[in-house]
């Protein structure tokens, strides 16, 4: 239990709305090569184990696990796939090191969503085949219902949700790998065409292609590989039911986020997350999700996130910067790699490598990812510059 685990390498590739010059495997190869270079030029033969996060239907391949090893340099090595968010994949990698059987483990994830001709149709295939799918509805009705319920229960306003979009897309202008940076006005969001009431089209993040590979190591190996290890202090993940009608707290609150964060905070010894954590990269697949997650993660009370947002608390120069990178609304949504994207931005900030968006004096950060509709699965990670 006392074994400490650090992130010692990071590489990414792609990050465009389409990537016609790269197949998904080339994209992963590029990210992996950069990651290994970042970890002192480690040879993949020296890596003990590999974890990929993927979903078959997203790749158009049954058993997508088959095509993992070659581009990672992982042939005839321990490799497995987690069909979950890439932060769950990260948890799997971390657990392997904590068992003591492995010392260095790579975790990878990618999105090649531009290859999909009908992504929304695919999301429909994740809904219940008997009770939901026969409606043959645009699946975003689930996000519309959730948003409406959340606004109703907490008194959060439609405008406050729109302000999340304004903040994140403006933050994205300082991030060269963010795709959707823009200066927009409140009316641009609130008066945009409605996707599913009250959710408008700008309340939803855009698609992004990209691949991210990170390298984890035990304490002793971490010191050999890098002089700027970022330590994983706590990790947690949880799943509520995917059935819309049997969620324990209804659709207004993100129970999965609360449970995942409880586990991560306990492991990291954090009692007051708002004071003990310096900044966060939090899932904002939809605008309301950022606020809902902030509350579920116990960073503020129910109904407070929107008000604190308006007071500038979550701005880059606020008390608790959230999604300084631009999040998914400003950067684009990486699907299964969403978690690693949140993690990557947290690591860059902690290493002091975030360029124009760099925050000052940060040593503890939180990354949180959600798997998107219709799931109720989330994972949280606490990272720190101190072991």
């Amino acid at each position: 239990m006392d074994k400490k685990v650090a992130i010692v390498g990071l590489g990414y590739s792609g990050f465009g709305s389409t990537t016609p010059d790269l197949s998904y495997r080339e994209m992963i190869f590029e990210a992996a090569t950069k990651c290994y270079q970042d970890a002192g030029g480690i040879h993949p033969q020296s890596i003990d184990s590999f974890v990929a996060s993927s979903e078959d239907f997203m790749e158009g391949i049954s058993i997508a696990d088959e095509y993992v090893p070659d581009q990672l340099g992982a042939v005839l090595k321990p490799v497995h796939s987690i069909t979950g968010d890439s932060l769950q994949g990260l948890a799997s990698a971390m657990m392997q090191i904590k068992t003591g059987q492995q010392s260095i483990v790579a975790a990878s994830a990618f999105s090649k969503v531009s290859n999909l001709s009908n992504h929304d149709g695919l999301v429909t295939y994740a809904t219940d085949p008997f009770y939901i799918r026969p409606f043959n509805e645009n699946p975003y009705f689930i996000a519309g219902l959730e948003m409406n319920r959340y606004l109703h229960e907490t008194g959060t306003t439609r405008e406050q949700c729109a302000k999340v979009v304004i903040k994140n897309r403006s933050n994205a202008l300082n991030n060269p790998s963010a795709l959707y940076g823009a200066r927009i006005e409140l009316e641009d969001v609130t008066e945009a065409p409605v996707l599913s009431y009250p959710l408008g089209i700008y309340d939803m993040s855009g698609h992004l292609d990209g691949s991210i590979v990170v390298l984890l190591a035990s304490e002793e190996r971490a010191r050999e590989l890098t002089d700027k290890p970022i330590w994983i202090k706590g990790i947690g993940w949880a799943t509520d039911t995917p059935n819309l009608d049997s969620r324990i707290d209804g659709m207004g609150s993100a129970v999965y986020a609360r449970l995942a964060a409880q586990k991560a905070y306990r492991m990291a010894g954090i009692n007051n997350p708002f004071n003990e954590i310096d900044f966060a990269e939090i899932d904002d697949t939809f605008s309301y999700k950022e606020l809902q997650h902030l509350e579920a993660l116990n960073l503020c009370g129910p109904g407070e996130a929107g008000k604190l947002l308006e007071l500038g608390c979550f701005a880059p120069d606020g008390d608790f910067p959230v999604n300084v990178s631009g999040g998914s609304l400003g950067g684009g949504y990486l699907h299964e790699a969403n978690g690693l994207q949140r993690l990557m931005e947290t690591v860059l900030q902690l290493r002091g490598e975030a360029g124009k968006r760099q925050l000052h004096d940060v040593e503890t950060g939180l990354a949180f990812a959600w798997r998107g509709i219709p799931t109720a699965t989330g994972a949280a990670v606490i990272l720190s510059t101190r072991p």
Binding site: M1, D65, V79
Partner: protein
Amino acid sequence: MRKVAIVGAGMTKFVRRALETPKELSYEAAKITLDSCGLTLEDVECIAHGTAPDAFDGLHQNGEYMVDGCGGWNKPTMRVYVGGGTGIHAVVHGWHHVASGLFDTCLVVCEEKMSSALPHAQAFFLTIFDSITERPLEPNLLWIFALEMNRYMERYGYTKEDMALVAVKNKLNGLKHPASQFTEEVTVEDVVNSEMMAYPVSRLDVSPVSDGAAALLLVSERVARRLTDKPVWIEGVGWSLDTAYWATRDLYYPRYTDTAARMAYEMAGIREPDKEIHIAEPYDPFGYKALHHMEGLQLSPRGKTVQLLHDGHFDIDGNLPMCPSGGLLGVGNPIAAAGTMKVCELFWQLRGEADGRQVPGNPRLGVAQSWGDLMQVSSVVVTGI
């Protein structure tokens, strides 16, 4: 390294067409497992689950859909996936949860419902091939296994009759398994004369399409001592994935099984596996595969395996009983659940609870192995008491 014990096991009957939904199958296996050690879902901290291609159920993010069936509702739940190898890999995955110190109890549940794939689950395997170089040829899974079987036979001069003997023996063992899908003995002639699928694979060389689920409860040493005086310890785990370019490999020897087994034996401190191990549950979706894997697992010298098979070395009362459960050929092959069933079998055998198929002589160490993806992955678990 933190010790991890198996304290409960359970499985549904393996059948051609279950009336239960995948969730209900998962529920049944999980419930039997918890009941077997007197626990409830409240005692379980996390779930490690597995199921093979999403295409069978026609569900995107199938792992999420399974959650409330296998007890993962409002718990840390993570699905692991290595194709056909998932069944045993889920046990490795569960071991990670407990051995890492993050959890003390982990319920491992694997489920497969293949019958909902119409007209036949085999059709969905077209989409496992490389979309540019292989899929246009419209390959079938049986074809590449036929290539592998042919190469294996040709390398050592084995005959189709030799390979058929595995199906005969495993199906005989399976008759004593209460969850088995089969009801009658077959002979070598039956197997050889059954319908030719793709030379040299005949219909009875192949394990059947099945529906079913299996589950195990893994706990830390502290919890195990409180729950039972007969814990079965996970002594070693190993897994390995070979290149996706299967056509570039010499198929006569499963290198991936070799590396995975060595990893597990190293952890378990086993130096001479063929002498130290008492029970082997190699993955046997096809007759030849059991022998192929016995060689990869270092349990039989390469090229001598058929002789040992003929000599009764692998019989229930032989020196190294192979697939005493009946394996996939004898019980059924609901892909992910079939692997977990093999670890369930080791659990029952090592505790002396395997009734009519009990291996004599108080076996103390067993190995189970599964295989999957494009003939490229092996997961190995060594258990002992």
